[in-house]
């Protein structure tokens, strides 16, 4: 019996083997969404817990990696929905452009605040597409939505961020 078949049949050893094979990849995906190592570890365990609970629904002929990523994305999204926690802004930011450092610092702070105020489903795609440079099709597959909807959500997230910055009377241009 193959590993995935044994897992779907409820074999705990098969589940452990799958866990050890995929935990790093699942963690790496989640930490890029939630941006906190401790939370990402907890959500990795939560993801595999959901995977184990839903094992009877898994088709052993299917793609476990894609299925796990979808569940991980949902777990991360649930976390974003229930949390408004912000990550700390590092002192030494990469790629800082020229210009008044005080204005740049304030713009970054305002933008960061606006970003964390985005509705979770927009924040999810914006994080992956705009910050982490994930391809739209990978985001679509992980989130269980179409590529067109990913584009719409990125567009709307950008519009919300611009509006938020504009309302704060900050000019959104790299000086």
């Amino acid at each position: 019996m193959e590993l995935l078949e044994r897992f779907a049949a409820g074999n705990l050893e098969a589940f452990e083997e799958l866990f050890r094979q995929h935990q790093r990849e699942v963690y790496a995906w989640i930490v890029r969404i939630v941006r906190d190592t401790g939370i990402a570890e907890d959500l990795t365990v939560e993801t595999f817990w959901r995977i184990y609970k839903c094992r009877v629904r898994f088709d052993p002929a299917g793609n476990f990696r894609a299925w796990a990523r979808r569940i991980a994305t949902n777990a991360a999204l649930d976390h974003l929905r229930h949390s408004r926690r912000e990550t700390d802004l590092p002192e030494d930011l990469p790629g800082a452009s020229a210009g008044d450092p005080a204005i740049r610092r304030e713009t970054r702070e305002r933008l960061k605040r606006a970003f964390f105020q985005l509705p979770p489903k927009y924040r999810l795609v914006a994080t992956l597409a705009l910050i982490e440079d994930e391809p739209y099709d990978a985001i679509a597959e992980a989130a269980g939505i179409s590529v067109a909807l990913v584009k719409v959500r990125v567009f709307r997230a950008v519009r919300m961020l611009r509006k938020n910055l504009a309302s704060l009377r900050l000019e959104v241009t790299t000086k």
Partner: protein
Amino acid sequence: MNNGKNEQEIKELLKQAIPPVRDTDLRRDLWPQMHRKLEDRPAPVFTVPWFDWALAAILGAALVFYPGSIPALLYHL
């Protein structure tokens, strides 16, 4: 200003405000934590909610006491 330029501008500013996560390596094996969770909350293989059992009981009773309802039930299935 077109959408592409808008997006690119925001993208550059965002990356300055919130840098991409570079260190995505898992530092420890999470299996012990997973194993503890499985022991604390064993996942049920298959459960039927109580109201499904109640519905089945009501339906069964109806079929026993009113056999005439069987054709109507079959028609609506």
